[in-house]
């Protein structure tokens, strides 16, 4: 876990300063500029870029929840796609069977996610590491099977079509509106995660991740906080799945294969374990990566011949990037970012002085 390097000591002198999310004036201005850029983006972007941005925001929600569970609480989960599927199917089934509006289906998805989180989390009380990964993987297949079974039993063999949600009698189908909704969802998730992590729960999770026995000796309820991590993470994931279902207007088990889980894990790994910024960077990278490959490939001469191979190139390239990060840059994009920051902060020196290495 790497901390952002700072140019000078920033000493807080009051509790209000300690609680503030953005402390210095520089942080405030840069955040303001960033938010303005985000708000202005949809009015300049093409429809394709807008769609890409929406996908990134969706991925951010999912990646943040996985980061909470794996990056902070240290619980390995290979069932992420299963949880997303659960959220998406909750929306699909409720919409098809009862025609429920989104303000019922979204909380319902969160509830289903939380319940599944308890089920996914129960093995974690006994199992660790590898065995936990396997049990969540097994549960993924069970969830997918149930979803597929519903599809085929009810005759939606190709998938469930969902109408766009309506707000005040107006159907939300415009890309720009979706952009703001998903941006708000991602921002809300980020805020929730930040606050969970700097409160008691976050400290407890980090302690569990570092050493369970010591955490227990410190009076942290291991079972409770593990389950809490699973429940919160799963609820957020299910909501991400539900948003995905509404955004696409379509639910089908094929969208939630094991590959999706791997993609989310890759976001966490590539972004950098134990960092929320890492989750965001990873989500953006993994979402945009296939499009970079596509443009790169189509720019080559004789592009038409490669077009059919695109899927395979994506797969191989994705695997390769993941391996490279795991072996050569385990800290992920955040690690690179922090190294660049330190380089400029310390210039012309290479290393911090030994006496001033408090951070």
């Amino acid at each position: 876990m790497s901390r952002p390097p700072r140019a000078s000591g920033y000493f807080r002198t009051s509790y209000a300063q300690d609680l503030a999310l953005v402390g210095t004036r520089f942080e405030r201005t840069s955040l303001g500029v960033f938010v303005l850029a985000l708000l202005a983006f949809p009015f300049m972007a093409s429809a394709f870029q807008l769609d890409l941005a929406c996908q990134v925001f969706l991925a951010c929600v999912g990646a943040l929840s996985l980061m909470l569970l794996t990056g902070y609480a240290g619980q390995i989960s290979l069932g992420h796609a299963g949880l997303m599927a659960a959220g998406a199917f909750t929306v699909g089934i409720l919409f098809r069977e009862t025609n429920a509006p989104f303000w019922i289906t979204l909380p319902a998805a969160a509830l289903v996610g939380a319940l599944l989180g308890i089920i996914f989390g129960l093995p974690s009380l006994r199992l660790r590491g590898l065995y936990l990964a396997v049990s969540t993987l097994a549960l993924h297949f069970v969830v997918i099977y149930v979803g597929g079974e519903y599809e085929s039993r009810r005759g939606f063999s190709t998938g469930i079509v969902i109408d766009p949600p309506t707000l005040g009698g107006v159907a939300i189908s415009d890309g720009r509106v979706w952009y703001f909704i998903l941006l708000a969802a991602a921002a809300a998730t980020l805020l929730l995660c930040v606050n969970l992590l700097r409160a008691r729960s976050g400290r407890a999770w980090r302690a569990i991740r570092a050493h369970e026995t010591v955490a227990e000796a410190l009076g942290i309820s291991i079972a409770g906080y593990k389950l809490l991590a699973f429940v919160i993470s799963s609820a957020i994931t299910a909501v991400a799945g539900a948003l995905f279902a509404y955004y696409r207007g379509f639910v089908s088990v094929e969208a939630f294969s094991l590959f999706l889980t791997i993609q989310y894990l890759a976001m966490v790994i590539i972004g950098g374990m134990g960092s929320l910024l890492g989750a965001l960077l990873g989500a953006a990278f993994v979402t945009i990566f296939p499009y970079i490959i596509e443009t790169g490939l189509l720019a080559l001469p004789g592009a038409q011949r490669y077009a059919s191979l695109l899927f395979a190139v994506n797969y191989a390239g994705f695997g390769l990037v993941m391996i490279l990060f795991l072996i050569f840059e385990p800290l992920g994009l955040v690690g690179i970012w922090h190294r660049i920051q330190s380089y400029f902060l310390l210039w012309p020196f290479k290393h911090r002085s030994a006496s001033g290495s408090r951070r």
């Binding site: 240290g74 049990s135 890759a266 191989a316 391996i323």
Partner: protein
């Protein structure tokens, strides 16, 4: 009768794939999630050599087997060697990434269409009649025989072979084994090679029996369940686990719902994890390797 034959054939498939998981886990405590892809790669290698050595199918098979051994060694030497001693999650993820990479490369090289190595080798696959009117295809019968051969060979190797004993030593206590002069890197590479070999044999036979395409990955993943049910560090366990999982799967397909086939192994797996996480024959290790 036919049910029993089906169970035995499926158990043979699972057992042949599961021993690959067991070999690597037993020696280096790494779970190889790319095993299905490695098995698939072995089958595709056979398909290529079959079209290269048209006149001589047995040369083709021999070359493919040697190549699959090499694949195992290469995967270890190039990638997994750097992951020894890392977190469990990182090691698992590396194998997953290797799997994705292999899958992409396979589609790039051989395309995603279904291939039939059997025709390429000019073998036929007659349906044989065994006891009680049950039928079994020649390739499936060969599969059962090969499973027996591979397991017999592995047992003998681990029990009596010089390298087999070293391998067990490295699995039990890497530090002490290294102190006694066992070359851990060579041992790990050997484990990967053997695992890749047995997996590829399974992949080749499945491909000969029922054609070759991307679905083999799912079989590889499902074969992980028997390995864990039997205990991840026990070869006997892998055999017994395969029988249990295969029986459960065949019976569920026959009596309940054919769609269940992809879930049953995982249901058995969950059940096992709840009752005895270390498996039927596995050593009860400290499950503390995060």
């Amino acid at each position: 009768m036919q049910l029993i034959v089906n169970i035995i054939v499926l158990a043979a498939i699972y057992a042949l794939l599961a021993c690959g998981y067991v070999l690597i886990y037993r020696v280096s405590r790494v779970l190889n999630m790319a095993h299905g892809e490695i098995a698939m790669l072995g089958a595709y290698l056979l398909y290529t050599t079959a079209s290269l050595f048209v006149a001589n199918p047995f040369t083709a098979i021999a070359v493919a087997v040697v190549m699959s051994l090499t694949v195992g060694v290469l995967v270890y030497v190039l990638l997994m060697r750097k992951m020894t001693g890392e977190m469990v999650l990182a090691a698992i993820l590396t194998t997953i990434a290797i799997g994705i990479l292999l899958r992409g490369l396979i589609v790039l090289i051989w395309s995603a269409a279904q291939q039939h190595p059997l025709q390429a080798l000019h073998f036929s696959n007659p349906s044989l009649e065994v006891f009680g009117g049950a039928r079994i295809s020649a390739c499936a019968a060969l599969m059962v025989v090969m499973t027996a051969v591979v397991y017999g060979g592995l047992f003998a190797f681990l029990r009596f072979g010089r390298w087999g004993v070293r391998m067990r030593a490295a699995g039990q206590n890497p530090l002490l084994a290294a102190q006694r002069g066992v070359n851990l890197n060579a041992i790990y590479a050997l484990a990967w090679a053997l695992s890749s070999l047995s997996g590829s044999i399974a992949g080749m036979l499945i491909a000969l029996d029922s054609g070759l395409d991307q679905t083999m990955v799912v079989i590889g993943l499902k074969a992980f369940a028997p390995a864990l049910v039997g205990g991840l560090d026990s070869l006997v366990g892998a055999l017994v686990g395969s029988l249990i999982v295969a029986a459960a799967e065949v019976l569920a397909i026959h009596y309940i719902d054919p769609l269940l086939s992809d879930v049953v192994p995982f249901l058995v797996l969950i059940g096992m994890l709840i009752v005895r996480p270390w498996g039927l024959f596995g050593t009860r290790e400290e499950l503390d390797r995060v």
